[in-house]
């Protein structure tokens, strides 16, 4: 019997496809309830509740920040001034920074992604990364990468805002804050996609030299050291490490070296589906 409960599918009925797809469900053979996760779940619940209280409703465009309850209170006050300034200048910088040791751990500045000034901030950080050594695969039009990133990001935001979900409503009311490190991490990710796609193409055509070039280009991403402003000055580090992506980057590099075509192709399809060329 198929998922719909019909023992004999009707002509043109494609619901059986779901049953076929279910056959490759990664958890098809796993019963999560038998893994003894109750203690870990209980510990996580306790940690989350202790991390701070639910946020209060913040009026107007004042976006709530992650962090402990005390941080939220300070942030709301600060954001009054920043919001007023942004309204005059159309700028996206908030003057608010993440705090080390809180859930974000990232001490870079918060940027209002829904602000008209956001594309300029994105461009500034993209150009900085290029100066700091971020390299895309040969044939990549970096100007196009930036343009596509901004236009797709803005289009995605408009789509998210126009939905009927609670998340869409929250986005319309509060806007969306992202951190500078996150923006830089996205560009680093797009660079990684360019190298993965370059490697897939080279592998398909059997070009060993270009495969090796792609491996070197990918590995070099881990050496891009970026300088970022924080509340107390600046901090610097590998952009991959700053976004906690070194491990997966190096794993991808290893798999490329090993010639694991199916794994890299699958990862590229999943991670880089909308990456601009």
């Amino acid at each position: 019997m198929n998922k719909t409960g019909n023992s004999a599918p009707r002509p043109g009925d494609t619901s059986w496809v779901d049953d076929a797809v279910a056959e490759i469900d990664a958890l098809g053979h796993v019963d999560l309830t038998e893994l003894g996760l109750d203690v870990a779940f209980g510990d996580l619940l306790e940690q989350i509740v202790r991390s701070g209280g639910p946020e209060k409703v913040v009026p107007s465009r004042r976006r709530r920040l992650p962090g402990k309850a005390a941080t939220i209170g300070i942030a709301a006050v600060l954001l009054c001034g920043a919001g007023a300034a942004a309204a005059v200048k159309g700028g996206a910088l908030t003057g608010l920074f993440g705090q080390s040791g809180y859930t974000e751990n990232d001490t870079s500045e918060y940027v209002l992604a829904t602000s008209p000034g956001y594309p300029a901030v994105a461009r500034q950080n993209f150009e900085q990364l290029l100066r700091e050594g971020l390299r895309f695969a040969p044939g990549t039009n970096t100007r196009h990468v930036l343009q596509m990133y901004v236009s797709e990001q803005q289009a995605e935001l408009r789509t998210l805002e126009s939905g009927h979900t609670a998340a869409a409503k929250s986005l319309r009311v509060h806007g969306l804050l992202v951190q500078i490190t996150g923006i830089k991490g996205t560009f680093a990710g797009l660079a990684q996609c360019s190298w993965q796609e370059y490697w897939v193409t080279a592998y398909t055509s059997g070009d060993r030299a270009e495969q090796n070039a792609a491996v070197r280009g990918m590995a070099a991403l881990d050496n891009v050291i970026t300088v970022t402003a924080s509340k107390t000055g600046t901090f610097s580090g590998s952009i991959m490490a700053e976004t906690n992506h070194t491990r997966t980057l190096l794993q991808d590099v290893r798999e490329m070296k090993d010639g694991d075509f199916s794994r890299i192709k699958r990862a590229t399809a999943v991670q880089c589906a909308s990456a601009p060329q």
Binding site: N2, D18, L27, F41, L44, Q47, G163, A167, M240
Partner: protein
Amino acid sequence: MKSLAEALTDQELFETLYSETRMSILGYLLRRVSIPTDAADLLSDTYLVAWRRIGDVPEGESGLLWLYGVARHLVANYYRHERSEHALALTLRHALAANASAFEREHDAPFAEDIARSLEALSPGDREIIELSAWEQLTPAEIAEVLGIKAGTLRVRLHRARLAIAEELAKAGHPGPDRLEIAE
């Protein structure tokens, strides 16, 4: 400032939501992230959002759909490297790491590679629709709520995505519903 009674209600609401949905959300994340410990971090992030926005979380079964929506965006950010690792989920990370072998994705079902390939050929959006239907067993109306699109639009996209997969599988020699019937 909230009264103690209100605060307790928030916490009780959250604990109920958490206990009723955590397995489903963990399953969703494990299916989409190849590293189980990363799924633990994303689970932690998902419920941190829910805890902070408990006032926005719809009641009843829609709460699970709201969480799928949050988890979906976090997974997208994860693949864009916009995520942070933190200590909240340390115990769960260890527990999942200890069970890592259970999550290894070796499919021995006939046509598994063809099915995976046909799924990859879909657009990311349509792939998500099929996966929510086949893996999370959501109805079209529920998927539409998760994705924030109209149910009618969703049904059309679901049907087209299924057709596309069926066509690809037919090319690969998959007998379609007949094989599944026999398998029962």
